[in-house]
Symmetry: C2
Subunit: 240 residues, 2 copies
């Protein structure tokens, strides 16, 4: 089989092993069959741009493999990373449903496999498959939820330290290490990108990490970070 960018393409959703844990993908057979017939399985290299904020919506991108960076950016080039999407997420969904422009920019961080569906096809699909439509509502609720989290973090934090601590704790949860005494996590992003996630400058992130290390709260080994004092980190995260 052709395998561009070193990816094993998942040709059919029916044989996809990951389908069961994915909110949108786990559709009843009828709907899935219809979905199969309108989707285009595509692959992108690292650094590819799926869509840019402001563009008219072409359709949805269901992420099957790889990570995608979702960001918004201001006229003067400042960037804010909203989140890094994981497989199973549907990108460009709200724009496709509402018909308004994409509200953010999606850029691959790894080689990615993506199922693309054209807007008209997708809307028709939704009208014909009520169960899929409900899944879409669930997905959108999820997105709204995480947007609210982002707003809370951006708007209600007093310091950059607080936001960084929150981010590290979130990551440790996502890694399934949160219940361990000393959770570890891989730092897959640069300081610059972390800065863009919490809306601060690169230098500040570097300084904050230096401070956390000095205070023995975290410990870095290459690109893995060990949280040595979870309690202290939590107290920074919810500082008054």
């Amino acid at each position: 089989m052709l395998s561009p960018y070193g990816l094993d393409i998942i040709e059919s959703c029916f044989t996809c092993k990951l389908r069961a844990d994915r909110l949108f993908c786990d559709l009843p057979t009828g709907a899935l069959q219809a979905f199969e017939s309108i989707k285009y399985a595509t692959a992108y290299p690292k650094g590819a741009v799926l869509f840019v904020e402001g563009q008219a919506p072409r359709g949805i991108y269901v992420l099957c493999k790889g990570r995608v960076k979702l960001s918004i950016c201001s006229t003067d080039g400042k960037t804010l990373i909203l989140k890094v999407a994981e497989p199973g997420e549907v990108l460009g969904l709200s724009a496709t449903v509402s018909g308004k422009a994409y509200e953010l920019t999606a850029e691959t961080l790894d080689p990615c496999q993506v199922n693309f569906v054209k807007r008209e096809d997708f809307l028709r699909f939704l009208r014909e498959h009520a169960d899929a439509c409900f899944r879409v509502a669930e997905q959108l609720s999820d997105k709204y939820n995480s947007a609210c989290h982002e707003i809370r973090s951006l708007g209600l934090s007093h310091s950059a330290a607080e936001k960084l601590a929150k981010l590290l704790l979130e990551w440790s949860v996502k890694n399934g290490e949160s219940n361990k005494v000393e959770p570890r996590l891989k730092l897959a992003l640069t300081h610059e990108e972390i800065a863009q996630m919490i809306g601060t400058s690169r230098e500040t992130v570097t300084r904050l990490f230096a401070d956390l290390k000095k205070r023995q709260i975290v410990l870095a080994k290459g690109s893995t970070l060990m949280i040595r004092n979870k309690a202290a980190l939590k107290s920074i995260a919810s500082a008054s």
Copy 2:
């Protein structure tokens, strides 16, 4: 007819004159009939709290009359106002769909009429009425969209002045005065509340207004504000 809090209750959605311009309310007859049978028409005084962030979702609140303040607040009491909902909006929708806690707090700013629907009833209704389900997806897309705007404003602005200018311009658009040379708008909120909308302090808002007045960019007459120099305001709003 009983009319609590000085409201004229709209008893039936069928006779509601405003239905046509409302994204969610304008349902086909069948769905609307079903909706009528599960909704409770209720009224609230000014200052009432419909739901609080963190609560398990009881159901949705369709706002028929009055304004509702949507906010999130931190443990130490700091508040961020996300938006002021207008009639036609469905509140608590994403939490009700996803089953997660309400992500924000809804408090009436005026006496309000609200149609409440219990979660189980609403979910059943969605399953049985695909067209309504699609409307829900549209509503959620809208909410997501405005959340993204909020994130952009909070995360990518460099100064409080920029955020205030953006807010004033938005308000002038919503008032339908945006194309006039000197748009007017009613300041229905206190400086404190405006501060909470743009994530700054009350004093800063006061100072910013003073500055705008001194520079002849706006002019206040009681609680109405005239924008005398729209261009200048726009340049502040998109300052580098």
